[in-house]
Amino acid sequence: MNDDTLKSLLRASAPPVALRSADAFWSAVERQAQVPGRAPAIPRRLGLTANLLRRWQAPAWAAAAAAAALVAAVVWPGAHAPALDQFRIGDELPNNGALVITDSDTDATILWVITEET
């Protein structure tokens, strides 16, 4: 009995095997993973990724906001600078001080000297 005869005999005596498609195989794996009490293989990996995202989401947003603020400060250095840095009223001017007003609508600044006649 040669090898070919042996193989054909083995094939003839073997039970027929039903082939499954890849989709059917992974559906079965997912169903199995959802059974309570069993260690799911794929969802566990997904869970790990989700936990990582949840854990690092807030720090990532904070870092992005800090980077944006830094860029804004570099690109627009005077964007948040006060319009009036300092002032000195002359000794000759009879005054009771001064008032710095910022107009809420336009962000315009008024330096108003309160004189004795005011």
Binding site: P77, G78, A79, A81, P82, A83, L84, D85, Q86, F87, R88, I89, G90, D91, E92, L93, A98, I101, D103, S104, D105, T106, D107, A108, T109, I110, L111, W112, V113, I114, T115, E117, T118
Partner: protein, 138 residues
């Protein structure tokens, strides 16, 4: 030769025109604030700011001067006022004098076309006040 000279002078004139067009100006206006509602045309936005924040309704232009940014000039105004403007580290140092006596000295940071209003000085008429409006113009 004459053609070359005229072409060169035309190019220089064009370059000077473009350069002057790109330069920003510092516009300084002396404005008189009064109780009545008269507003000089062109000062409507300044008058609106004043009305929102101070008890003055009238806004009349007394005098207007300007200088190229970065500023380094002394501007003479009606009423004996002089305003010295000097740009330093991004801010403009402003010194206001009247009849050579110091009224006020400050440093202002001008943002875009947002005005900075400095004043409250005696405006002559009863209750009137003088202010200087500093504004960058493109």
């Amino acid at each position: 030769m004459n053609k070359l000279a005229s072409l060169l002078s035309a190019a220089l004139l064009l370059a000077a025109t473009v350069a002057s067009a790109a330069q920003q100006m510092l516009d300084v206006r002396l404005v008189k604030l009064t109780g009545n509602g008269t507003v000089t045309p062109g000062l409507e936005s300044v008058a609106a700011i004043i009305r929102r924040n101070l008890p003055y309704a009238g806004c009349a232009l007394v005098d207007q001067q300007g200088c190229i940014m970065p500023a380094n000039a002394t501007l003479a105004f009606k009423g004996g006022y002089t305003v010295t403007c000097k740009t330093l580290d991004g801010a403009v140092g402003v010194t206001i004098q009247k009849n050579r006596k110091l009224l006020l000295s400050t440093a202002v940071t001008l943002k875009d076309d947002t005005p900075v209003i400095i004043g409250g000085f005696d405006g002559g008429a009863k209750g009137a006040k003088h202010v200087f409006v500093l504004q960058k113009s493109p």
